[in-house]
Symmetry: C2
Subunit: 420 residues, 2 copies
């Protein structure tokens, strides 16, 4: 991809109201742009990473046998009245009327709609279990939108819903999704702790949150250093903190960013919404449900919060938007441009390359390159007179002058090194 066409509007300074490092970096590196309070555009580079995260989510859920669908954002009040949430949900629920004065809301979650979609067809134990997910834009009118993608009013979420004929099956799926979540966050380069949680506005019998440790997290949690167990304990009852049930590891206290949550809903929605099935014994019973959220845009935020240095973002291996960043230091120098074009056309046959062909000062290009954090930079500058380009690894800052004729081999050796 040629950078001149890609629209990566980097900024020298962060917005004045940006406190979190991720907020500063997301905006400065041209990944997102605020359109209104808590409402962001995902610019091409940011959206490319969002799509990578989405595909990791898809791979791990599809491997379990989940199916992807897409439910509408516009939801009728009728369904929300069936579940009882039309009256229960606070001002976070964005409500509107259509031209015929009918009440709608913009979905903050989709328990009602998925129950409506599933209830007619899933009428027998023979058709269960089924697990359906979507990756979709959600709306919550937060009182205080914060830290760009952390607490937004329009954001991207993966929500999965599972339907079962008995509790054992739900418990089994709950564990499966738990493990899939750990894989997903691990592939995104995030360390997470799993924390007991209350069931809040979603409801149900049991719930857990997946937390990324960060000083900008909104929850205070205690967690075990030797396993993934944590607890949403307040400081007031820290006497609990040493009762870590899973292992005898040492305990730390930190702030956490919630990137995922999982709920055993039981029959909270299926009962009032009459989503029933005929069981083996011929009896009609409400379906047992689970629901599982994962904040896609918030994961991007948490990744940037955890993966940066004083120069900018340092992408985790699986989330890198490009493998190589080819910089033509001075595009007005025809020799440099020819060499850079040649390298671009060769390397892009194997890997995704961003080619900085902008009419811009070379020094700015290098700063932008550090800022957006692509793993390997190839700078084509004055050294081409000696047949050399500079190869820089973003993570370590290590630079090497490499013969243009040896470049392919050198890049392969870097990739091999990384895999070890």
């Amino acid at each position: 991809m040629k950078q001149s066409m890609m629209f990566i509007p980097t900024l020298k300074n962060a917005p004045k109201d940006a406190e979190a490092m991720s907020h500063k970096l997301l905006v400065r590196s041209g990944l997102v742009k605020q359109v209104a309070a808590g409402i962001y555009s995902y610019l091409p580079l940011g959206y490319k990473v969002i799509k990578i995260i989405e595909n990791i989510v898809r791979e791990e859920l599809d491997a379990l046998g989940c199916s992807e669908l897409l439910l509408p954002a516009l939801q009728t009040s009728d369904l929300w009245k069936e579940s009882g949430r039309w009256d229960d949900y606070g001002p976070e629920l964005m409500r509107l009327k259509d031209r015929k004065d009918r009440d709608f809301c913009l979905g903050p979650t989709h328990e009602e709609v998925i129950t409506f979609v599933a209830r007619d067809y899933l009428n027998s134990y023979k058709k269960l279990p089924v697990a359906l997910y979507q990756i979709q834009t959600k709306f919550r009118d937060e009182m205080r939108p914060r830290f760009a993608l952390m607490r937004g009013r329009e954001f991207s979420m993966k929500d999965l819903y599972s339907f079962h004929s008995n509790d054992e099956c739900l418990n089994e799926w709950y564990e499966l999704v738990w493990e899939a979540y750990k894989k997903i966050f691990n592939r995104c380069g995030l360390e997470v702790k799993v924390v007991d949680s209350d069931t809040g506005q979603i409801g149900g019998k049991e719930a857990h949150e997946f937390m990324v440790m960060s000083e900008v997290g909104e929850d205070t949690i205690s967690y075990c250093n030797d396993c993934d167990y944590g607890s949403n304990t307040e400081f007031s009852n820290l006497a609990e903190r040493d009762k870590c049930p899973k292992c005898g590891g040492t305990i730390s206290i930190a702030k956490g960013i919630e990137v995922g949550n999982i709920f055993k809903l039981g029959t909270k929605y299926s009962e009032p919404m009459k989503a029933t099935f005929t069981d083996k014994d011929g009896k009609e019973k409400p379906m047992i449900m689970g629901c599982y959220g994962l904040g896609v845009s918030r994961t991007l935020m948490a990744v940037v919060e955890q993966n940066n240095d004083e120069l900018g973002i340092v992408w985790p291996e699986e989330l890198k938007p490009f493998k190589y960043h080819i910089i033509c230091f001075d595009v007005k120098n025809k020799d440099q441009l020819d060499v850079a074009n040649h390298i671009y056309s060769e390397l892009r046959k194997q890997s995704e390359c961003l080619f900085d062909d902008r009419i811009e000062r070379g020094i700015i290009k290098l700063k932008d390159s550090d800022l957006i954090g692509i793993p390997i930079r190839i700078t084509v500058g004055r050294d081409i007179k000696d047949g050399l380009v500079e190869v820089t690894e973003r993570k370590t800052g290590t630079s090497n002058k490499v013969k243009i004729t040896d470049l392919q081999a050198f890049c392969s050796s870097l990739s091999k090194k990384k895999k070890k």
Copy 2:
């Protein structure tokens, strides 16, 4: 994918209000499900095809150097007041207030937001042209939602916006996108005609629509049988119809479904919204813009409308959700199930397979298979006692009894035949 898990709720009967064949088939084959008037859920099989269409769109636009981003659905009235459309747009615009009583709308198109996002950064001719697109959910409160995905209130659209320093560059891009659209629709198995159009609520200087001929189309058009040229002429002035400028071909009249539209916006948005750049001559000028819409969900509808027979959908080659449909006629017969499982595990190594492992009558499975239209069906039934399965091509209905040991070779030969 195992069909028992995929949630494909086929129906024997179409909804009573369904007139268009595509509407009947989309619902009957479990691709979509209505949630409210003009508001649909895309169920797993339908959403799989939607994602295939989206990826075709991405491939053709990325090849031009366009970049994908994602703009918010929630738009502040401020931006719409800048462009003047807050007052001009009719009741199709869905309006709402946030908790602080600020006015918002749900984006029916995104000219305002993209102009806002682009205007700060694209401040010099050196940074132009740039072409940015998104694939996103749009909202229009249609008075009379029709034919399921044809005229919906919440629908999926690809919208591309291009920014230029001069008209020549816009004209060049307009042609490029025109050609890309032809490729996209062609890959989707659709025949389209390109029709002069008025500029409507989008505005601008010149516009064209991409039309799929269909008896359920909403526009009457005349078109040339020998080239892709058409005209949105009313019957009243059909004297115009023989003035086909591009070739001397014969003219037909038909109904058309609009699946795409392209506009030379000029400075309609950049001027009032002060989206200016400094040109080579040092002067500040408003950017020249183009915008290009493509109805993703409506394309699905048009594809189903054009590709079906009395048994159900017949997917065009590139849009097939799976290549093989493996039917285990009777899953309670252990021998059949073993063979079917074996075939599934072998074929899925090379191609996407749907495996009908449901506890359901065999005859229902065959009917469902015809209905959802996967190109090649492999039926594992009683013939396995002779070492045979039945291979059926959906398009032609041709069936062959094939030795299980020869199945891989036979399937390869079918694929080769198709490519010729």
